[in-house]
C-alpha cells in the first residue's frame, strides 16, 4: 500500500501544487455561465448570443474588467451548446451552477428556453440576466432571480397597431397568426386586446404548429376573406415559407408584419427581393445617440461587431451585450459578486447602454418601446416610433406581379 502511494506521489502532489499556484489567479476571475443554441434548428439566432457575450466580455476585460471594491477582476465565459434542446439546456444550467460553480448566469435564446432555465437560477438562487426570452410567462411567476432585456412579447405589435391606426387608409381587417410556443402565444394574447381597442376587426385568428412548412391554406383564407393586414408571430423558417408561398399564390395583403426575421440580415438575404415591403419591429437600432460605457455608442458597437464576426448585429446581439453589462454594473454597485447581493443590485439597476436605458421592472423585465421597421429596397427603414412616423411606409404593398 505504502509503496504504491509513493509511486503515485508525483501525480497526487503535482495537481495540488498547480492548484495552489493558480489559486490567486483564479480569484481574480469572475465566470459567467450560459447555455446557448450553437447547433440545432435555432442555431441561426443562437449564435448572436455567443458572439454578443464574447465581444462584451473581451471589451470589458480590455477596459480593465470589473471593479469590485478596490480590486479589479477579469470576466470569463463558460458556454455550453444546448443543441437547441430545452431539456439539455436545463441540465447544462444545473451543471454550470452546481459543478462548474460559475458566479452568475447569462441566458439562452428563445422564450421556451428561458422559461425552463429560469427555474434553475431560481432554485439555486443565482441571478440570470437573459436577453433571449420575451414571453410574459417568464416574468409572471414571481421569480426573483430572472431578469430580461427583451421588451415584453405582449407588446411586440403595440407600435405596429398604433401605426395601423395612423395609416391612410387604415386596414379594414386584420389576420393574427401565431406559432404554438411560449413567446408567440404571449404575443398573440397581448395583441388581441390591442387590436380590439384600436377598432381593428380580427378576421382570422389562427394558431399553427411550430415548424409548420405549409401556409397555403392560411394564405388562401387571407385572400378569400380579403384581409388587409396580416400580423405573424413565429420563427424565421416559418416566415420565410410564409412569404415565399404568399408570392407563389399571389396573395398580397396591404401590409404584413413579422415578429422575427425582418431585422436580421440572413433573413433578408434568403428572401432577396421578395423581402421588400415586409414590416417588422425592433427595440434596438444602431444609433450613435445611444451611448455606452465600453463601446462608445451603438453605432460603434455595430461596426466593431460586424468587423469581428462578418455579419450585422440585430437586437438579439445588442440585448446579449446589455446582459453582460447589466451583470457588471450590478456587481460594481453591489461591491460584490455574491449572487444574492448582485440580484438586489440588479433589481435597482439603472444605466444607459448601447441597447438603450436598462432598468428592470418589479417582475424583472425591461420595458422598451418597439420601433416599426420595414424592408425598403435593399435596406431597413425606421418607420414608426414613439413620436409617430419617422419615415413614410411603403403602403399599401403592391400586388406581386406589379413589383
Amino acid at each position: 500500500m505504502l509503496p504504491r502511494l509513493f509511486f503515485r506521489f508525483p501525480s497526487v502532489i503535482l495537481p495540488c501544487l498547480l492548484a495552489a499556484l493558480s489559486l490567486p489567479a483564479a480569484a481574480q476571475e469572475i465566470t459567467l455561465g450560459a447555455s446557448v443554441q450553437l447547433t440545432g434548428p435555432v442555431a441561426n439566432t443562437g449564435r448572436y448570443y455567443r458572439d454578443a457575450y464574447q465581444i462584451a466580455v473581451e471589451k470589458i476585460n480590455a477596459a480593465g474588467g470589473v471593479k469590485i471594491g478596490a480590486q479589479q477582476y477579469k470576466l470569463a465565459l463558460k458556454l455550453y451548446d444546448n443543441q437547441s434542446d430545452v431539456n439539455l439546456s436545463v441540465r447544462q444550467y444545473t451543471q454550470l451552477v452546481s459543478q462548474d460553480k460559475v458566479q452568475l448566469l447569462l441566458g439562452p435564446f428563445a422564450s421556451n428556453f428561458a422559461l425552463a432555465d429560469s427555474a434553475v437560477s431560481e432554485k439555486y438562487k443565482v441571478p440570470m440576466v437573459q436577453g433571449g426570452g420575451a414571453s410574459d410567462q417568464i416574468f409572471s411567476r414571481k421569480f426573483k432571480y430572472i431578469f430580461g432585456t427583451l421588451a415584453p412579447a405582449s407588446n411586440y405589435f403595440g407600435s405596429t397597431i398604433d401605426m395601423l391606426k395612423a395609416l391612410k387608409p387604415a386596414p379594414k381587417s386584420v389576420a393574427l397568426l401565431y406559432a404554438d410556443d411560449a413567446f408567440d402565444v404571449s404575443v398573440a394574447e397581448g395583441t388581441r386586446p390591442k387590436l380590439k381597442q384600436a377598432g381593428l376587426p380580427i378576421a382570422l385568428d389562427e394558431r399553427y404548429s411550430t415548424n409548420a412548412t405549409d401556409f397555403n391554406s392560411l394564405l388562401s383564407q387571407i385572400k378569400s376573406k380579403n384581409i388587409e393586414a396580416v400580423l405573424v408571430a413565429g420563427h424565421e423558417t416559418e416566415i420565410l415559407n410564409f412569404v415565399r408561398q404568399a408570392k407563389s399564390l399571389a396573395v398580397a395583403p396591404k401590409m404584413y408584419s413579422f415578429t422575427v426575421g425582418v431585422p436580421s440580415e440572413d433573413f433578408r438575404h434568403a428572401l432577396g427581393a421578395d423581402a421588400d415591403y415586409a414590416f417588422g419591429m425592433t427595440a434596438w437600432l444602431p444609433s450613435a445617440a445611444q451611448k455606452d460605457r465600453w463601446f462608445g455608442d451603438a453605432a460603434q458597437f455595430a461596426s466593431e461587431y460586424k468587423q469581428k464576426y462578418g455579419y450585422d448585429p440585430d437586437y438579439h446581439a445588442a440585448s446579449g451585450v446589455a446582459d453582460v453589462e447589466a451583470l457588471v454594473q450590478a456587481m460594481e454597485t453591489a461591491g460584490s459578486m455574491e449572487p444574492q447581493k448582485v440580484r438586489d443590485a440588479l433589481a435597482k439597476l439603472k444605466f444607459d447602454s448601447l441597447y438603450g436605458p436598462v432598468a428592470f421592472g418589479a417582475n424583472g423585465q425591461i420595458d422598451l418601446p418597439q420601433v416599426v421597421i420595414q424592408v425598403q429596397g435593399d435596406g431597413l427603414a425606421e418607420i414608426y416610433g414613439a413620436n409617430g412616423f419617422v419615415k413614410q411606409p411603403k403602403y399599401p404593398m403592391p400586388a406581386w406581379n406589379a413589383r
Partner: protein
Amino acid sequence: MELLAQILANGILLGGLYAVMALGLALVWGVLNIVNLAHGAFIMLGAYASWHLYTYLGIDPFLGLPLTALLLFALGYALQRGLLNLVVRAPMFNTLLITFGLEVVLTYLAQLAFSADFRTINPPYAGSNVQFGGVVLPLVRLAAFGVAIVLTVGMWLFLLHTRLGRAIRATAQNLLAARLYGVEPRHLYAVTFGLGLALAGAAGGLYGTVSQINPYIGASLTAKSFAIAIIGGLDNPLGVIVGGLFLGIVESLTTLYIGPTFADVASFGILVLVLIVRPSGLLGRTA
C-alpha cells in the same frame, strides 16, 4: 366554393411534393427492408446540392435535378456497399440504429459545411403562378407535381418491365430464388439504395425551390415520408402517390376547417388508422 377549390388544389400540389419525398424511402424499405431514418437528411443534402449548383454554376434547379440525383445515387451506392450491407440482414433494430446515426452525422456535418443560415433556391420564376378561374396554381409546385408523377410512373414501369427492375423485385420477394437465377444481391442492394437516394436528391431540389433549406429540415421530412409510405403501402410506387395526395388534401382541409395545429394530428391519426385497418397500405396487397 372558390376557397374550397383553392384549398383542394393546394392539397393536391402539396401531395405531389410529399410523394417524391416518400418515394425513395418506400423503395428502400420495400426492397431492402431498411427503414432509412436518414432519408430526410439525404433530402436535405439534395437540396444543398441543388442550391450550390444554382448559386455557383447557375444551373436551373429543375434542369439540375438529374445531376443532383446522380450525385446522391453515387453516395447511396457507396454507402450501401461500404456500410449498410453490414446490416442488411440484421434485425430491424440494427438498421434503425445505423440509419439514425447516419442522420445525426449528416445533419451536423451539414451545419459545419453550410452553417445554420437559411438558404432558398430562388430562380426568377419561383413565385410565378398560373390561374384557372379563381384558382391560383404556383408554377413551381405544379412543376414539382409533374416531376413527382413522372418519377413515380417511371419507377413503376422500371420495376415492372426492365430486367434490373425485375431483379430488384425478385430479390425483395425471395432472395434465395433470385440468387438461384443469377442475381448478385450486393450489387443489386447498392443500386436500390442508390436509387432511393437519387429520388431523395430530386425531392431535395424541389423542396429547396418551394421551401427553405437548413441542416435541420431532415427529421420532419423523414417523419412525413414514413407516414406516406405506410399510408400508401410499400408494394407499388403508385401507392406512394396515392398516400402523398391523400395526406396533402387531408392536411389542407384540416387546416381550413379545424385549425392549422391539427394538421399533424390528422396526418398521424390517419397513419394509425391505416395501420389498424389496412396494415399493408391503401394500395397494398391484402394478405
